[in-house]
Symmetry: C2
DNA sequence: ATACTCATGTAAGCTGTTACATGATTCT
DNA sequence: AGAATCATGTAACAGCTTACATGAGTAT
C-alpha cells in the first residue's frame, strides 16, 4: 500500500500517544483540522488498512463492557513516519477557499453587495482568529511539543493577518461610496 | 441539481468572458488555482450538466475543422451566480497543507532533520511567492477587474508572509545549535 | 518533420463525505 | 431520566484524479 498524507496523519497521532481511532479523530479536530482534516469514516478503515500492512499493531482494551481497540506503531510504521518527515518530495497542497472564490468574482455584483460580502468574510476570519486565541493557542501552549506550538502560532497569525487584510479592504471600499445618480 | 462551488467557478468564468471548456481550464490554472483548482475532466461534464439544467447555452463554433463549443450564461445561470455571491451561507473552506502537517509532527525527528524540513518548506514558499510576483500579479494588473486584482494581491501577500514566517523559524532553529555531546 | 497548443470528451478508480447502525458509560 | 460522551464500524454516494482516446492547427 502506498501511504497518503492521511495515513501519515494517523501514524503521527499514534506516535504522539493517541491510542484509539476515536482519540485520533478528537485530536485532529482540536489541532490539525485547519490544515488537514479527517472524518471517523476515514480513520477506522485507514487504521485497519495500516494494520493489515504491518504499520501498526492493535490490542483489545475494553473499558468495562465498552469495546475499545488501541493501536501502536510497529518499527515499520515508525520508520515510515520518519522517512516521510525527511523526504523532500514536494508536499501536496490544496486549498479550497470558497470565500476567496466569491471575492474573485465580486466584480459581477454591485459595489454595495460586494462590500457586504467582504464584511461577511471579515467576520468569518475574525471568528476563527478568536477561536485560535481562546482555544487553540492556550491548548498548544500546554504541550511541550515545540513544533506543535509553532504550527498553532502559524494558524493564529494567519487568521489574524487575514482578518486585518479584509478589514483594510473593507475600509477602502467604504471610503469610496459609489457615485449616486442625482 | 444543487450547484457546488465548482459549478459557480464555471459560471463565474463564463460571466467573465471565457467561452470554452478549454479556456475556462486555462484561466483557472492562471488565476484561481491557488484557492480553487479544477481539472478538464471536471470542467467538461460540469458544463454539460449545467446546460442540461438550463444554466448555460452552448453553440458550435468550430475554428476551421477543429470542433469548438462555446457556452454563454442563461438568465437563470447569471441569477444563480449573483445569488451565490450574495448568499451568506458560511463558505466552504478546506485546506490541505502537507507541509504544515509535516511541521506539526516534526518533534518526532532530530532537530537537524527538522531544520532541513523547515528549509525545504521555506524554499517552496519563496518559489510560489516569486511566481506571484513574476507572473500572477503582473497579469492581474492588466485586467480592469478590481476584485480579481485584490485576490491576486491576497495570494501574493500570503505567500510572502508565509516565506518570511518560515525564514524566521529557520533563523530561530539555527541559532540554537543542538547541544553536542562532548 | 516534429513538437506544441488547441480542443473535446470518456473510463476506471481513488478518496472522502454523510448518514446509518449500535451500544456502554458518565454527567446533570 | 435524559443528554452527552465514549467507542466502533458499514453503506451509499459525491467528487475528483489519472489515464486513455482522438484529432486539427501552428510554430520551429
Amino acid at each position: 500500500m502506498r501511504l497518503k498524507p492521511g495515513s501519515y496523519l494517523i501514524l503521527g497521532m499514534l506516535d504522539a500517544g493517541f491510542e484509539t481511532g476515536y482519540e485520533i479523530k478528537q485530536s485532529v479536530d482540536r489541532s490539525t483540522r485547519f490544515f488537514w482534516a479527517a472524518s471517523l469514516a476515514q480513520v477506522y478503515p485507514e487504521l485497519a488498512a495500516l494494520e493489515n500492512d504491518g504499520y501498526v499493531n492493535s490490542a483489545d482494551q475494553p473499558r468495562g463492557k465498552r469495546p475499545r481497540k488501541t493501536y501502536t506503531l510497529t518499527t515499520k510504521g515508525r520508520t515510515a513516519l520518519e522517512d516521510w518527515l525527511r523526504s523532500d518530495r514536494a508536499p501536496d497542497f490544496e486549498f479550497r477557499d470558497e470565500g476567496l472564490l466569491k471575492l474573485f468574482f465580486a466584480d459581477a455584483i454591485p459595489a454595495e453587495d460586494a462590500l457586504a460580502l467582504v464584511r461577511r468574510l471579515r467576520a468569518g476570519a475574525e471568528e476563527i482568529d478568536q477561536h485560535f486565541r481562546d482555544v487553540i493557542l492556550p491548548r498548544a501552549g500546554a504541550t511541550s511539543q515545540r513544533f506543535r506550538q509553532l504550527v498553532a502560532r502559524e494558524g493564529a497569525d494567519y487568521y489574524a493577518w487575514r482578518a486585518s487584510w479584509l478589514r483594510q479592504i473593507e475600509a477602502e471600499l467604504s471610503d469610496e461610496p459609489e457615485p449616486r445618480p442625482t
